[in-house]
Symmetry: C2
Subunit: 249 residues, 2 copies
C-alpha cells in the first residue's frame, strides 16, 4: 500500500508521500512516489503515485520519454498551457498504460495494474492547483470545500486532517498537520512506511520551496511522534467526563 | 457498513456499536447490533455484529431458538460452562448459517453473507473475556497486548484508541475514549451512523452495569464532538513547529 496527501493552503501547496511498496508482507522495498518537474520561474509540477508500481513507473518514464535518446526527449507537460491540460495528459497516459497491460493479460489482468495519482503545481499567471486522477484517466480538482486529496491507505490519517485543516494556516503548520496524519497511519498500518518525502511549493515561487526526506531517525518526525501521543492524552483528559448517572440510571 | 468496538479494562468491559445498516446509499435503516443475555449474579454475555444483516439476525434468532414455541426455547450459551465454549457455539452457528446460504445460492453466493462478531462477557468464577469471531467460525481472544477488538469500518477510529488506551483507566474514561473513536469515524464515513449503543459491564457484577443509547441530540455526545475538535486543535498547536531551515536549506 501507500499513503500520499496533497493539500492546498492559501500560501501554497504541501505534499507528503511514504516510500513503502509491498507485494505481500515479505517483499517490501523503498521506492520514491513523488516526482517533480520544473521550469524555474515559469512552472512547477509534482505528481504522487499510488497503486501498481510497474504502472506508475511507466507513467513517469513515458512522461519523460525515456524510451528516446536523452537528447531527443521532450516532456509534454512542460509545454502544456494549463494545469488542467497537464492533468488531462497524465490521465490519458495512465489510462492507456493500464488498459494495455490489462488487455495483454486478458481475464487474469482484469482489475489489476490500477493506480491513482495526485498532481499538484502552478504555472505562471495562474493559481496553484491540485488534482486527483483515477485509473480511468478522469480526474477531480480540489476546491474550497475539499482542499486536500489522499490516495492509498487514507482512512487512519483522515480524521486529524478534517479536524486540523485551516486554509489560512502557515506552510510550516501544514507540514506539521501532515506529519501527524502520517504518524497516525504508520502507527496503525504496516504497509505504509518511512522514510517520508515532503515537499512545499510556495505560491508564486514556481519552484520547490522546501523538500526533505524524513527517515526514522529524523529529529522532527521523532519529536512529533512522541509529543503527539502526550498531546492526544492531554486533549483526551480535557474532555468532559462521562457519568453513569446522566440518564437517570 | 458498521462500527463496533469491545475493550477490556482492568475494571471491566466497555462496548459500543453504531446502528446504521445500508444497502447502497439510498437504503439506510437503524438496526440494533448489540445483544445481551444474562443470568443475574451468574453470567453476562453480549455480542456485537457486523456484516450481512440477514446472517447476523439469523445467528441471534437461532441462539434464542425463536423457531420454537416460547415455552420450549433454551439458549445454549446460557448453559455453556465457559466463555470459550460460548464463543465456540456462536462460531459454529455463524459458520453454518453462512455456509448454508452460500451453498443455496451457488456461484452467486460465494463471498456474500459473511459477518463478524465480537463476544464479551463474564461467567462467575472466571475472568471477563473478549473474543472476535471470523465468518469461518474460528476466533481470537483479547490479551494484554491486544486489549480491544473492532469490527466493520475500523480504520478511522483506530489511531485514537491505540494512543488513548490504558488498561487502568476508569470505565467512564473507557466510554469517553470510545465516544471519541466513534465521533472520528462518524465525521469521515457515511456508512456508520447514530444512534450509538453503549454498554458497560463492571468486573464481577455479572450484569449490565450501565447502558445508554446516544442519539444525535445526546448532550454528552454533542459535548464530546464539539470539544474534541477544539482539544485536537489545541493539541496540534502544542506540538513542536516545523522549520524550513532545519536541514540547512
Amino acid at each position: 500500500m501507500t499513503y500520499c496527501v496533497g493539500m492546498v493552503l492559501e500560501k501554497g501547496l504541501v505534499l507528503m508521500s511514504d516510500t513503502r511498496t509491498n507485494s505481500g508482507v515479505d517483499n517490501i522495498s523503498v521506492f520514491r512516489k513523488m516526482f517533480t518537474w520544473q521550469v524555474s520561474g515559469e512552472r512547477i509540477i509534482t505528481v504522487m503515485t499510488a497503486g501498481n508500481l510497474a504502472t506508475t513507473q511507466a507513467v513517469v518514464s513515458q512522461l519523460e520519454e525515456r524510451m528516446k535518446e536523452p537528447g531527443e526527449r521532450e516532456n509534454a507537460i512542460l509545454q502544456s498551457p494549463t494545469m488542467f491540460q497537464v492533468a488531462t495528459e497524465i490521465g490519458k497516459l495512465l489510462r492507456d498504460i493500464i488498459a494495455k497491460r490489462q488487455n495483454a493479460n486478458g481475464d487474469r489482468g482484469r482489475g489489476k495494474f490500477t493506480a491513482s495519482i495526485i498532481i499538484a503545481g502552478q504555472i505562471n499567471g495562474m493559481e496553484p492547483r491540485l488534482f486527483m486522477l483515477y485509473p480511468e484517466g478522469n480526474f477531480i480538482e480540489a476546491s474550497l470545500d475539499t482542499p486536500f486529496f489522499q490516495i492509498g491507505e487514507t482512512k487512519y490519517g483522515r480524521p486529524i486532517i478534517i479536524r486540523g485543516y485551516d486554509r489560512q494556516m502557515s506552510l510550516e503548520d501544514g507540514v506539521k498537520l501532515l506529519t501527524v496524519s502520517f504518524d497516525s497511519t504508520l502507527k496503525a498500518n504496516l504497509s505504509v512506511g518511512l522514510p517520508l518525502d515532503l515537499q512545499v511549493i510556495e505560491r508564486d515561487s514556481f519552484e520547490v520551496s522546501h523538500q526533505h526526506r524524513m527517515s526514522a531517525d529524523d529529529p522532527y518526525f521523532r519529536s512529533i511522534s512522541s509529543s503527539w501521543g502526550d498531546a492526544l492524552k492531554h486533549a483526551f483528559h480535557s474532555l468532559p467526563d462521562y457519568s453513569f448517572k446522566q440518564d437517570g440510571q
